[in-house]
């Protein structure tokens, strides 16, 4: 039996509010353990009287240990910490092992964000995030939290952050979360600002190098196309590169369906190359990416429509 409250003198002044399920039997009802049920009764009681205290922290910790997905408890805990001006550093120290135990939990990450926002420093956070990503390298909440950190503490020009992202991509070039973070850091988080010539060259070179490691990996292809679109460059700046992996004149030697896809875009933009665009799309539909045949054919039809308009 875990912690109880009814026989604890510290809680003698509280009249718990038990769960009231009224007349009919509710749907998807949970037969709570006595321990959970009692703790929740005390939580409802302290919430009803807006109590913020040290003992509320203990109570919320107890309930979180039984149900870490309980947003009400997390939100009330955050409010309590703020009201009693508790040490947020202590809170982070307590939070670390809890987060590692419950990797997929939404609430923990939002709570952490609230705490670090209050502390006003990202110190130690990159290291902690790395520990988390070792367990689950594509955890959505962890990456989103990292993006928040970059924004909150303006780490956009932090070389360390960019090198770390590059390290994550090196470790698994197919980790799309790492690619997204790089985009956010270098391009996306900067209010639509165009890249300088230096940075543009650096990013294109980087993504091309990563494509060469595994040409059938879509992430760096998307990154290249994103950069070109962001800079408002013609897609044809990628033509020579795409031709390294796919050439419609050598239809049996295709090393990347994504190169064919890109070539179709390039030919579609090029004067008089509609037939080549169609050939690329036909190759995708019939051989190199047939599950998306409907989509490739749709792209083909669009070519004819633009012809009609022209």
């Amino acid at each position: 039996m875990g912690k109880t409250y009814h026989d604890d003198p510290e809680w003698a002044d509280i009249e718990p509010i038990p769960q009231d399920d009224g007349g009919l039997h509710p749907l998807a009802a949970i037969a709570y353990t006595e321990e959970y049920s009692e703790a929740m009764g005390y939580l409802r009681a302290v919430m009803a009287k807006n109590e913020f205290s040290q003992r509320v922290l203990g109570l919320t910790e107890h309930i979180i240990s039984m149900n870490p997905a309980h947003y009400t408890v997390w939100l009330y805990r955050a409010k309590t910490l703020s009201e009693i001006k508790a040490s947020l550093r202590d809170e982070i120290a307590w939070l670390n092992p809890t987060a590692l135990k419950h990797l997929k939990n939404y609430q923990i990450w939002h709570h952490r964000q609230t705490m670090i926002d209050g502390i006003g420093s990202p110190e130690g956070e990159p290291e902690f995030i790395s520990t988390m990503l070792e367990q689950d390298s594509k955890n959505y909440h962890v990456w989103s939290y990292r993006q928040w950190l970059v924004k909150r503490f303006d780490l956009f020009n932090d070389e360390e952050e960019r090198r770390w992202t590059e390290g994550m991509i090196d470790a698994d070039v197919r980790n799309n979360s790492a690619w997204n973070h790089r985009w956010f850091l270098v391009v996306g988080g900067r209010n639509g600002q165009a890249l300088t010539e230096d940075k543009l060259k650096r990013e294109l070179e980087f993504a091309k190098r990563e494509v060469r490691r595994a040409p059938q990996n879509q992430s760096p292809w998307n990154y290249l196309k994103g950069i070109v679109r962001h800079q408002k460059l013609p897609t044809s700046v990628l033509k020579d590169f795409a031709l390294e992996f796919a050439d419609i004149r050598r239809p049996d030697d295709i090393y990347s369906s994504h190169a064919l896809d890109l070539l179709a875009d390039i030919y579609a933009e090029e004067e008089g190359s509609k037939e080549d665009a169609k050939k690329a799309l036909d190759l995708l539909a019939s051989k190199y990416d047939p599950i998306r045949a409907y989509y490739w054919n749709y792209r083909k039809n669009l070519l004819d429509q633009t012809e009609t308009v022209a």
Binding site: P26, A28, L43, H70, K79, Y140, A171, V173, R229, I291
Partner: protein, 503 residues
């Protein structure tokens, strides 16, 4: 390199129901490859001759057809570089392939040689999901509204009459409606937009005056006003996270309950100059479109299938999809990204680039297509048959309920969203120029212009017994529930808009 798929003795089906191939049936090249492969012999070396015979015996005509199909839709290019991602993908494919090739669960097959929808078993599974849970399920204590919604929607999709639950639905949610408005996950829990969304959809599925009247709309208005942020988005709870789920859930409730578009006087966003729920919302959703064309939880995050549906759903409540999607999104990039979510050769969807197939995205991504097709005025952008194969062959749990992928347990969430995805493969919907059933004509009425256009006429692999009901493309409940609800609130003239009091 991608693991070469092979049938192993792990997944034999009983000889009794699968007659062995005879000499007249030409064994596929694939089968020869299997029998000649050293790997296979190694794997079978410890098996008795009977096992070997049984394994050969699984190559029915249906299986040969499946194997031929899978070869046809496979991307023939494989990079040699091995990373964590490619290892996970290869392992997963090896687990899934036997279900796409053969019939390891020994389910009855439809006329296309694909497992039939196990309707009775899935109904029984969801009925149980609405029942009691032991104490160890405390982890779900904040998600009970979801359990009710997923189960009721899944049952409805399978044509099951849920009216027997009507009173209990009303009662269940009356206990978790918060005194300050909105719904919490359980008794005494704070109001939350996810719980509120699930509660409102469950209540309107139950339907009837008592159900509609159980919702305190005026307090709901105030609660939603609290959630609206100066950025244009919505938080899920007071001091909670702001993401695209919040916007979709809030607009769903606003539209269905016909709540005024003006922010309540108490809304904190008013201090920042906002006056309506949709102020700044379109640009905020635009900022959620990521560099690869997909939609993310919040600006800057990674594109993700579930958030994509929320984003498109939200835009389709704000106005006709043809207007709102084209105004706020790069459509060609979006369609490219959505299309890339279909895994090959599995046919099911993943949620993000280079992630694994999961049955729940049958809806989150599959459900985006009716909206996108309406916005692009083009039918048939996606491979419905491939998705149907994944759902029926790989996402049905033998004992009932649907799943993420073979080897996972069934739950109400995956059951609901696999079935919604199956529905999307079978039905066609059109966005009409004129209003239906005299609904709308006022605020946030765009969702009431959708019309069921009949069964999909193209390539199909589902039999008549596998057909599930139509699902409203925006609200993911039956059309009847949507129209009855809005009609009820449309005619309500007595709603006190509160604003008047401040004028």
């Amino acid at each position: 390199m991608a693991a070469s798929p092979r049938r192993t003795s792990r997944s034999p089906s009983p000889l009794s129901s699968s007659p062995p191939t005879t000499a007249e049936q030409p064994p596929s090249a694939r089968l020869e490859e299997i029998l000649n492969s050293e790997n296979c012999i190694e794997e079978l070396s410890s098996a008795s001759e009977d096992d070997l015979y049984e394994d050969m015996g699984t190559a029915t005509l249906e299986e040969q057809a499946n194997i031929t199909y899978l070869e046809k839709v496979r991307i023939p290019i494989h990079d040699s570089l091995t990373t964590e991602t490619s290892e996970a993908q290869n392992e997963t494919l090896e687990i899934i392939l036997p279900y796409l090739e053969g019939n390891p669960n020994d389910l009855p097959l439809n006329i296309f040689g694909i497992p039939e929808l196990q309707r009775k078993k899935h109904i029984a599974f969801l009925q149980q999901a609405l029942g009691d849970y032991p104490g160890a399920f405390a982890l779900l204590d904040a998600s009970r509204p979801w359990l009710v919604y997923w189960s009721l929607q899944g049952l409805s999709a399978m044509g099951y009459d849920i009216s027997e639950y009507q009173d209990r639905v009303i009662h269940t949610f009356s206990l978790v409606q918060h005194p300050s408005g909105g719904y919490g996950g359980g008794f005494g829990q704070l109001p939350h937009l996810a719980a509120t969304y699930a509660a409102v959809l469950s209540i309107i599925m139950a339907g009837g005056t008592a159900a509609y009247e159980s919702i305190d709309r005026e307090k709901m208005w105030h609660f939603l006003g609290e959630m609206k942020q100066p950025s244009g988005g919505f938080t899920m709870a007071a001091q909670g996270e702001e993401d695209i789920r919040g916007a979709y859930c809030a607009l769903t409730v606003l539209s269905l309950l016909h709540i005024p578009l003006e922010l309540p006087p108490s809304a904190p966003a008013r201090a920042h100059g906002l006056t309506t729920f949709t102020d700044n919302l379109g640009p905020w959703i635009s900022a959620c479109q990521s560099f690869d064309g997909g939609m993310s939880a919040a600006p800057g995050n990674e594109a993700h299938g579930a958030y994509a549906f929320c984003a498109l759903g939200c835009l389709s409540i704000m106005g006709p999809p043809k207007q709102t999607l084209n105004a706020h999104l790069d459509m060609s990039a979006l369609i490219h990204w959505l299309s890339a979510r279909q895994c090959s050769p599995e046919g099911g969807y993943n949620g993000r680039t280079n992630k694994l197939v999961d049955g729940c995205y049958s809806h989150w991504v599959g459900g985006c297509w009716p909206i996108v097709e309406a916005a692009a005025s083009t039918p048939n952008l996606w491979n419905r048959a491939a998705l149907t194969r994944y759902i029926l062959s790989a996402a049905q749990f033998k004992k009932g309920g649907l799943i993420d992928k073979p080897g996972k347990r069934a739950d109400a969430y995956h059951t609901c969203y696999n079935l919604a995805g199956l529905s999307a493969t079978q039905h066609t919907y059109t966005y009409e120029e004129t209003m239906l059933e005299e609904l709308g004509g006022s605020e946030l009425d765009a969702p009431y212009y959708w019309k069921v256009h009949g069964l999909h006429g193209g390539e199909r692999v589902w039999g008549d017994g596998d057909v599930v009901d139509e699902v409203h493309p925006i609200f993911v409940v039956p059309f009847r529930a949507v129209h009855d609800c809005r009609r009820y609130f449309e005619d309500m003239k007595s709603f006190d808009r509160g604003i008047a009091r401040t004028d």
